[in-house]
């Protein structure tokens, strides 16, 4: 059920304040979520999470929030832990909550945030360390939708072809179709329904992927895929709150994909 408050081991203790701006003209303070299983108090108990405030000279680092985090990691505190790889918004690793909204640290400009920049891991997820959430559960949910092409016909000697219009359904005319999803999980972890029901609700990222296969003209398992979603929780916990679409850093529309699945459910009855 909905637990509005964080569990006792997840509430914040007072963090540190580090000013490394050294009289800089352009400075900015980052409030960064920190937690490590290795940070213990005198009695040997693991300490609760905290927000550290680090002030840096913006002239010394690149323009994006990821640049600032890496600057802090390289120059101030090497224990700061986060995921990143491509630094250009295509791998989905650096997804986190910045200034109250889930997005990719590498494509979020520091200047877009007024005042201090608060950074925390993707919401309502178990934290492995600092900004790294445990994604095992979402990946397990991803496998349940069997994200691969299923066909009845024998394999042809070359690719299975598809008309340009059919391909458009996957790619979107503007390139913002479900096939453009990078599985960063910004959307799922922005969804209040997913927060409260992640054990049974698949969440927007996975449902968008489910739609990607349902809508694929080359896939023959549409009925089977819809059957698998016919469940009061897996699909129907979506109440069109629209957080997912509002937050997707790639400009995709999971809420609409979910509505399309719901429509197909009605249409086939």
């Amino acid at each position: 059920m909905a637990e509005i408050l964080l569990p006792p081991n997840s509430r914040f203790i007072k963090g540190e304040k580090i000013d490394a701006s050294d009289g800089a003209k352009r400075k900015k303070t980052f409030k960064i979520y920190r937690w490590s299983p290795d940070t213990k108090d005198a009695k040997g108990n693991v300490k609760n999470p905290r927000f550290d405030e680090v002030t840096i000279d913006l002239d010394k680092c690149g323009p994006m929030v990821l640049d600032a985090l890496l600057y802090i990691k390289n120059n101030i505190d090497p224990t700061l832990t986060l995921r990143r790889s491509c630094r250009e918004g295509i791998c989905g690793s650096c997804a986190m909550n910045i200034d109250g909204t889930n997005t990719l640290a590498c494509t979020k400009a520091i200047d877009d945030v007024n005042g201090d920049v608060q950074v925390s891991p993707l919401p309502h997820m178990p934290v492995v360390k600092d900004l790294v959430p445990d994604l095992n559960h979402v990946y397990a949910q991803y496998t349940t939708i069997e994200p691969w092409l299923k066909t009845d016909s024998p394999a042809p000697s070359r690719e299975r072809l598809q008309s340009a219009d059919d391909a458009d359904i996957l790619n979107g005319h503007d390139g913002h179709g479900p096939a453009a999803c990078i599985l960063c999980f910004c959307c799922s972890t922005s969804c209040p329904s997913y927060w409260w029901n992640a054990d049974r609700f698949l969440g927007p990222a996975i449902l968008l992927q489910a739609y990607r296969w349902i809508a694929d003209s080359r896939d023959d398992a549409t009925g089977e895929r819809l059957d698998a979603l016919e469940d009061p929780f897996r699909l129907y916990r979506c109440h069109t709150i629209m957080n997912c679409t509002n937050t997707c850093p790639k400009g995709l529309n999971p809420a609409k994909a979910i509505a399309e699945i719901k429509k197909m459910m009605v249409a086939r009855q």
């Binding site: 081991n9 979520y33 299983p37 693991v46 109250g100 209040p192 709150i241 399309e260 429509k263």
Partner: protein, 132 residues
């Protein structure tokens, strides 16, 4: 030494509601649920009214007196506003279920339409009520 096998330390849950900057669509969704609850309660009041009307003039007068007091009017005003909001937003949900207006900008714009229409309908109702 760090135990790398499987941390035995229970993992904390990352902050959610307390840090999330909820967009208007999310606030509308919460309001939709709250107005739904308010309307359910309001239905009880409505039932009380009907029962009193059926059980004699004296009770009817008592309820009418309560309803026309300041407090009664405020409750009725809120109830009617909740009713219109829930109705307008409910219609939007029905349109959404057909797959329309789900784009980010359109969903945002229809927020304002829902609020505006609900306010206008409430205002018109009360102006009519007072003009009579």
């Amino acid at each position: 030494m760090t135990d790398t096998s499987q941390t035995k330390v229970p993992r904390p849950l990352s902050p959610h509601l307390s840090i999330y900057n909820l967009p208007l669509t999310a606030l509308m969704s919460i309001t939709h649920r709250m107005t739904g609850a308010v309307l359910a309660l309001g239905t009880l009041l409505w039932a009380a009214f009907l029962i009193s009307a059926a059980s004699g003039e004296e009770y009817y007068k008592m309820v009418m007196y309560a309803a026309s007091s300041h407090m009664g009017r405020i409750i009725l005003l809120l109830w009617s506003a909740a009713l219109y909001f829930h109705m307008c937003n409910g219609i939007r949900h029905m349109i959404w279920d057909t797959g329309k207006f789900l784009e980010k900008d359109k969903a945002m714009r229809t927020n304002y339409v829902v609020i505006l229409v609900a306010v206008i309908m409430t205002a018109v109702t009360w102006v009519c009520a007072y003009l009579k």
